[in-house]
């Protein structure tokens, strides 16, 4: 039988720690533990399902590290992240997508 894994909130991580997120000319702080999309949405970042399956919010991570709160179902290539279900572990640089 396939084992069922439940992802529990990782209490040992740096909850409340804030990381610097940079995207193009915009830089802001984001609290670790919160989905990254929470601070991208007000900046006009496109998303749909917000549950990690539709892949609409997919973005390029140029540097930094993230942790997934739930495993993404969308197809994620190396260097890509799904902001709706990941949270930063370090400062991040995201690809500039402004039109």
């Amino acid at each position: 039988m396939r084992s069922i894994t439940t992802i529990w909130p990782d209490l040992s991580s740096n909850v409340n720690k804030r990381h610097r997120i940079n995207q193009g000319r915009d830089t802001w702080a984001h609290t670790e533990g919160e989905p990254l999309l929470a601070s991208l949405t007000p900046r006009g970042h496109y998303s749909e399902c917000r549950q990690g399956y539709c892949s609409a919010c997919k973005t390029q991570l140029l540097s930094g590290e993230v942790r997934y709160l739930t495993p993404p179902m969308a197809y994620v290539r190396r260097g890509e992240i799904l902001p709706c279900c990941c949270t930063p572990l370090t400062d991040l640089v995201l690809a500039d997508i402004t039109p």
Partner: protein, 378 residues
Amino acid sequence: MSHHYSTFSRVNNNALKEPMFLGNPVNVARYDQQRHRIFEDLIEKQLSFFWRPEEVDVTQDRIDFNALPEHEKHIFLSNLKYQTLLDSIQGRSPNVALLPLVSLPELETWIETWSFYETIHSRSYTHIIRNIVADPATVFDDIVVNEEILKRAGDISGYYDDLISATQHYQQLGPGEHTINGQTVSVSLRGLKKKLYLCLMSVNVLEAVRFYVSFACSFAFAEREKMEGNAKIIRLIARDEQLHLVGTQHMLNLMADGRDDPDMAEIALECHADSIEIFRRAAEQEKAWASYLFKDGSMMGLNQQIIEDYVEFITNERMAGIGLKPIFDKRTNPLPWMSKWLESDAVQVAPQEVEVSSYLTNQIDNEIDHDDLAGFKL
């Protein structure tokens, strides 16, 4: 391996070593192991989304519909007709076209699950239409004679029909030159794989782009608190379609990245220009559809220009999803309010901490108490 199809292949194969398509036919339907785990996850997720159209009350929609101006009735019914066409195709074609070619049990079941949900969508259109018009036949009968809808039907079903016909030749006659009814037909495994790839690309575009003009109109009505039962159903359909889209994106990406059948990685490169063309044609057709929808007038919040911009925006987004470069100018989302209709619940961190929308169908409250009417005076 044989080119014949068998409903229970007696080849003692290792399903973990089969490609997604055109290896040995599937024998044992087993889900304890997967070559591509994603399809197992998609099945589970899709099953958790189970819903029935009758769970959504659309009685208020009839009142709303009768009060709509004629040009808005045209927009509403035309979109329903178009969606009926799309799901008529999708409710059968993945089964007919893909099941004879599939080689992995998890993918076979995903295709069946996917198609089954499209039949629920078709049934929900009957549910809606039956509730808003006196004679549903006037709506359904128009679908096969409406020029604007037929223009799209050819492109959508063409790739499926091509693949089905090539599969029949291949499975019956095997590779080689054959004379069928006086015509010479060249059959090859490579040719069949190419048709399969293009068919998947066309299905991907159907789910990624073609549904979205209708979705936008349905949600635009509901933003004005009109046709809200319909919007609830469309929202459930949109959620399923996002999942189906991920399924085809995975198939295409696994092929292109060489993580499945090495031939398919080459074919993906060969079909690069054709793939872009499939997206471009669909986007153009959807824009033309918008001009048909709005021929007698726009609706509040939407007009032809906004829909055209939205088609370009969503086409670019979906192309990026399978690693293609955008073909239209980059722009921000012209319909930002659509997002709230397209999102599921917030990310579920621990299952017991959140309400999951998968369990939240049938939410209309029909309970009424004397006190509810206490404020009324006759």
